[in-house]
């Protein structure tokens, strides 16, 4: 042992005397560090944290194979080992000394690299020195064993070079050391699972970029250490002092035993795809940090640091003893007590206030950018969408990547939901593909991922709990979807509508439940059951309350902290609840009961309001959801966790959800102490996204203006008459007139036009003829003429003093539709059918018959042909609001 140490120390001294060795020990790894950091991480601190592991792993592999291994072959070839042979030391001492020298040279290299990463890239210290040391040591041991095994089976330098190249290139390119694992095609990921370096890389990235405890990587560490033992045992067993001692071919094959632990690991990983999912997650995190950094450089971020002093801090998990948080370049720079703000920093006195991580809403449906803007105004810095138009999601992602997203919440989206033909999700008018069989699940999920889905949302709900009968996925199909998502490293969450549905979804392997059930109380084992399957739950109490007939969001309207920021459409939505069906049994109390069981079992509870469903609106409703969670039995702190660190962790967004150095400066400053009074979250002082303060006042002013305009009925609407077409023109008494409207805006092919013709109802002079051709192309084809009552097109008009719309119609005998658009109802119209026969007929439809509209925010009235294809022609006259 002493001999091994002495030889190792001498070898280190010799290396220090050799320029080539010095270059490869210190200069070369730094070149890699700066190249990786500069090119791949764009100089971003979080990017550097992601790439630091790979750079270290490259150095570990390189120094083991090309340094250690080749050195020992060279010593043998040169003959300098023979002299040791005459001394009373065995092969073990030589093997040990080589490994030790390699290891002792690696430690300062890593230290220098760490120093450079910290100094030049401001890399956050997301790994403890102890963990770093453990990883470097295990890696060095494994690869030193590998390098020496190769050295011991190679008969010549040339042979060793060939073996090294064969081993090195897969390790270089397939282990995640150069190309992130998550970016590899799936089949290559399967191959990568058999490579030792893969485990070192993924352990590094798990710890450094995903805040995973090192203990989670115990199997990987054990595999590395085991192969280190195999490797060194082989190197010792096959050790040769003399170059003319040759090794037999069969002995060479034995050396492959080194890879045995990784055959096991690879088989296990391939059998259990979810383990590989971490690779994609880690990559996603890199993308996020890359994006943030891009946005940081997009000039909008105020580079100047700011500090919030004398403030209470809830760090996303606990009440922190810190009282100062310093932000710079969109990231949290420091958290502590009595920290001195950097010179030039803007200082905010947070006395009496509490600083929270920006809130994360774990269940929204993003209709447009305003949804995200409104979220941010209410302190929600991240929206986790659970079904939206994937094309819009893609556009918003692009804007986020370009840094144009600073005035709206960061979006993660499920894109298109996975549902059965005719199932929940298909009723909103958005044309979506559907899934019928487990065989198609993989292709279906791949298509969603290709569209950009960050995770997969499954609809598993037959509607029976609400006395509806909806088609839904089979259990087998749901399980296949979950499996397909996991294979691609994506999470799969399930919308459920009943207790049985919840259990089925958990059994199918869903990562999380969207909604709790209200059809019956849970069994006592429910919490334990979910906990054992490591799933999380987003109860969405707000929407469950609305389903049970109570407009859950109504109290928000009268909250002075909230109401100035609520646009009219939000107020309408908050007042609504779901229509109650006859025979529907609703047991809201089942939800709080479930939450208590889940919490007792340690299941992560995530806050999500499911805006903009009836009773909810973006952002504001998350505050109500927190209140409902506290009512359901969570402590205010636990409720805050549910809207910060818990969703961040559950959705692998480890760059947010907590207040800690290096994380995104997504922050919410509120008056008072929400850790004792949950409603204090509404008393918002300021919201920052990536260190940029949201302009809440601009939003408030805009809301005020819009609500004022919306308040009165439009001038000219006093009589209620829109048009009688008797003047020979399509003139209107108010609003912005008649316009053509067809499905071409949704990619359809239908066409329409209109003109005023002689002869109207009841012998009047004129009427409006609407004609066109309905052609297939869009799922819900339409074409016709639309009246827009607002002063500007699509501006809502308040016609709530009216109760109905009436008109005369005649035509070719086909069925037509009158469709009503209201801003609170979103982009999907409600409609009534009418028949335009050979004789004029008068129709009156109450507003309420259009899905409960009250006319306060009407955007348009559309007279349309379709949905059946074909040419059509009809006339209308005396269009009037009654």
């Amino acid at each position: 042992m002493m001999a091994a140490i002495r030889i190792a120390l001498l070898n280190i001294r010799l290396a220090m005397r050799t320029k080539v060795a010095l270059f490869f020990t210190f200069i070369f790894p730094l070149i890699f560090l700066f190249a990786y950091g500069g090119i791949f991480a764009h100089g971003s601190p979080a990017g550097m944290a992601f790439l630091f592991g790979p750079v270290i792993v490259l150095q570990v592999i390189g120094s083991s194979l090309w340094g250690l291994g080749m050195r020992s072959v060279a010593e043998r070839e040169r003959g300098s080992l023979r002299r040791y042979r005459l001394a009373p030391i065995g092969p073990g001492a030589i093997v040990m000394s080589s490994m030790l020298a390699g290891y002792l040279l690696l430690i300062p290299t890593v230290a220098v690299m760490l120093g450079c990463a910290r100094l030049f890239f401001h890399m956050p210290m997301t790994i403890s020195i102890l963990d770093l040391w453990i990883l470097v040591t295990a890696g060095s041991f494994a690869f030193a064993g590998f390098g020496l095994t190769i050295a011991s089976v190679a008969n010549t330098m040339q042979e060793a070079q060939v073996y090294n190249n064969i081993a090195f290139f897969p390790l270089l390119f397939l282990s995640g050391a150069t190309i992130p694992l998550g970016a590899l095609p799936h089949w290559l990921q399967s191959v990568a699972a058999f490579l030792p370096a893969t485990y070192l890389v993924s352990a590094f990235q798990g710890v450094m970029s995903q805040s995973e405890p090192l203990l989670r990587h115990t199997p990987e560490l054990l595999a590395l250490i085991t192969s280190g033992f195999f490797g060194s045992a082989f190197a010792w067993k096959l050790f040769r002092w003399e170059k003319d001692e040759k090794i037999s071919k069969s002995a060479k094959l034995w050396a492959l035993i080194f890879l045995f632990p990784f055959l096991g690991m690879g088989a296990w990983m391939n059998a259990n795809g979810s383990a590989m999912a971490g690779w994609s997650r880690a990559l996603n995190n890199l993308d996020n940090s890359g994006q943030s950094q891009t946005s940081g450089s997009a000039a909008k971020v105020s580079k100047g640091p700011f500090a919030i002093e004398h403030v209470g801090v809830f760090d996303g998990e606990h009440v922190s003893p810190a009282d100062t948080v310093i932000v710079q370049d969109g990231r949290i720079l420091a958290v502590g007590s009595g920290l001195k703000p950097p010179s030039g920093a803007q200082v905010i006195d947070g006395r009496g206030d509490t600083l929270l991580p920006g809130l994360i809403d774990a269940h929204v449906h993003v209709l447009d950018r305003d949804a995200l803007k409104q979220s941010l105004v209410f302190g929600v810095t991240t929206d986790l969408d659970m079904f939206m138009d994937w094309k819009l999601a893609r556009q918003i992602r692009k804007e986020q990547a370009a840094g144009q997203d600073l005035d709206y919440a960061d979006l993660r989206s499920a894109g298109t939901v996975v549902t059965a033909p005719g199932g929940h999700g298909t009723e909103y008018g958005l044309k979506i593909p559907t899934l019928s069989s487990p065989q198609d699940a993989r292709a279906f999920v791949d298509a969603r991922i290709a569209e950009g889905s960050d995770y997969i949302k499954i609809i598993y709900d037959d509607g029976r709990a609400y006395e509806m009968h909806l088609p839904t996925l089979s259990k087998a199909t749901m399980a296949a979807v979950v499996e397909a998502a996991h294979r691609r490293g994506k999470m799969a969450v399930a919308h459920i509508g009943s207790y049985q549905g919840a259990r089925d979804a958990i059994n199918a392997g869903a990562d999380g439940l969207m909604h709790l059930f209200i059809d019956r109380a849970p069994d006592a084992d429910f919490g334990q059951f979910v906990a054992e399957h490591h799933a999380f739950v987003v109860p969405t109490l707000s929407v469950l309350k609305s389903i049970c007939g109570t407009p859950s969001g109504e109290p928000l309207i009268s909250d002075p902290e909230i109401s100035p920021y609520l646009p009219e459409s939000a107020i309408v939505s908050l007042k609504q609840s779901f229509p109650q069906r006859p025979g529907e049994h609703c047991d809201y109390d089942a939800a709080p009961a479930s939450i208590r069981l889940l919490q007792a079992a340690g299941v992560p509870i995530l806050a999500g309001a499911d805006a903009p469903n009836p009773g909810t609106t973006f952002g504001a409703s998350l505050h109500r959801e927190l209140e409902l969670l506290v009512e359901a039995g969570l402590t205010p702190q636990a409720a805050l966790v549910a809207a910060t660190s818990a969703p961040a962790h559950a959705f692998h967004l480890e760059d947010r959800g907590r207040i800690a150095p290096g994380l995104r400066a997504d922050l919410l400053l509120v008056k008072g102490d929400p850790t004792t009074d949950i409603k204090a979250t509404r008393a918002i002082v300021a919201v920052w996204k990536l260190g940029v303060q949201a302009d809440r006042e601009a939003w408030r002013a805009q809301v005020e203006r819009a609500n004022k305009t919306a308040a009165g009925a439009p001038a000219g609407s006093e009589s209620g008459l829109v048009s009688d077409f008797d003047a020979g023109t399509p003139a209107t008494n108010f609003g912005s007139g008649w316009v053509k409207s067809t499905d071409s805006m949704m990619g359809g092919k239908s066409a329409a036009d209109f003109k005023v013709v002689d002869g109207g109802a009841q012998g009047s002079k004129g009427s409006l003829e609407i004609y066109g051709d309905i052609l297939p192309g869009y799922a819900f084809p339409w074409a016709g003429a639309m009246f827009m009552p607002g002063a500007q097109p699509f501006a809502p008009a308040n016609l709530s003093s009216r109760k109905a719309i009436s008109f005369w119609a005649k035509g070719d005998g086909r069925t037509y539709r009158v469709m009503m658009f209201a801003s609170s109802a979103g982009p999907i119209p409600a409609w009534q059918n009418f028949v335009a026969g050979p004789d004029w007929k008068h129709y009156t439809f109450p507003f309420a018959s259009f899905r409960g509209m009250d006319g306060h925010d009407l955007e348009g009235v559309l007279f349309s042909g379709g949905p059946e294809p074909g040419k059509f022609s009809f006339q209308i006259d005396d269009v009037q609001f009654e």
Binding site: R6, L10, A87
Partner: protein, 310 residues
């Protein structure tokens, strides 16, 4: 028979070693006594290095018994290595190691060592103590190799071709160092293919050829064994017949070349008397006479039928 007395520190008997088809050692037996310098003399490929490496415990013999310092080298090599010092035929050390580092490192491997500083002084390496191995001359490298063989005050020093490849000046330098060991009554086994080296340094020499010992004894004994005879080269004023000379008493052979006669005689004294008598009786005059005693080289040629350089 022997110049010195002492118990046997090396005992080799019936040693055989083959490398595949090649029989490197066919049958070698000898003993080395404490305090003697024993030489294995033979051409390259005679089996000398194989023999020494078996003694060092680096190779396993195929047959025969070997005892070194009372130990069996193949089985007890670690204990043995503590007690012997050795120098390889071609010692190579790392380029950037200094003289002092090499000596101190190797000294650290042993239980018993001598002062490295003294060793450096004695081997003339004091000035070079901080020099890298790659900067040393051939002679300095060889002196360092010898010094390394002595760091553990070994009971037996094994030197494999200690002067091979060195020029004559440097070789004499090394001889002096080995003679010093002899003066200290160290037990030394050295292999060489230089006859001069064996004659000068060794108490006893075994002549090895084709894996066998063909002769063994002190250099003197070996020479004597090949007879008391000598060669006489003689030039006469008037020619004499070779047949006449061959007929002289004690003359075994005679050949004539360039007017000189070369006689192989035994015993010398008798032949000289007969030769002088013949010259006087025939009225001839002796122009020149040269008597050559046989050398170890002659012994080697006689024993092996070829010159050692062949």
């Amino acid at each position: 028979m022997s110049a010195r007395n002492g118990s046997a520190i090396v005992q080799v008997s019936g040693l055989r070693k083959s490398y595949g088809e090649v029989e490197a050692i066919r049958d070698i037996s000898f003993e080395i006594r404490e305090g003697e310098v024993f030489g294995l003399l033979g051409p390259n490929g005679a089996g000398k290095t194989s023999t020494i490496e078996i003694l060092e415990g680096l190779r396993q013999p195929d047959a025969g018994t070997v005892r070194v310092c009372g130990l069996e080298p193949a089985r007890e090599s670690q204990q043995l290595k503590q007690r012997i010092g050795a120098q390889l035929q071609n010692t190579i050390l790392p380029d950037k190691i200094t003289v002092e580092e090499a000596l101190r490192l190797f000294a650290s491997f042993y239980e018993r060592t001598i002062a490295v500083d003294d060793l450096m002084e004695r081997f003339g390496l004091g000035e070079k103590r901080r020099a890298y191995y790659e900067t040393l001359s051939g002679g300095q490298k060889q002196r360092l190799a010898l010094a390394l063989a002595l760091v553990n005050t070994p009971e037996l020093v094994l030197l494999d071709e200690p002067t091979a490849g060195l020029d004559a000046m440097v070789r004499r330098d090394i001889y002096a160092l080995i003679e010093q060991l002899r003066a200290e009554h160290r037990t030394v086994l050295l292999t060489t293919h230089y006859i001069e080296e064996a004659e000068r340094l060794c108490d006893r020499v075994a002549i090895v050829d084709h894996g066998r010992i063909v002769a063994l004894g002190t250099p003197r004994e070996l020479v004597r064994k090949s007879g008391e005879g000598a060669r006489i080269e003689v030039r006469l004023e008037k020619p004499a017949s070779a047949g006449r000379l061959r007929g002289l008493d004690a003359v075994l052979e005679c050949a004539e070349r360039d007017g000189a006669y070369f006689l192989r005689v035994d015993p010398v004294a008798k032949a000289v008397v007969a030769l002088v008598h013949m010259i006087e009786t025939e009225g001839n005059t002796l122009v020149d006479l040269h008597i050559t005693r046989p050398s170890l080289e002659d012994v080697f040629v006689e024993m092996t039928g070829r010159s050692i350089e062949d």
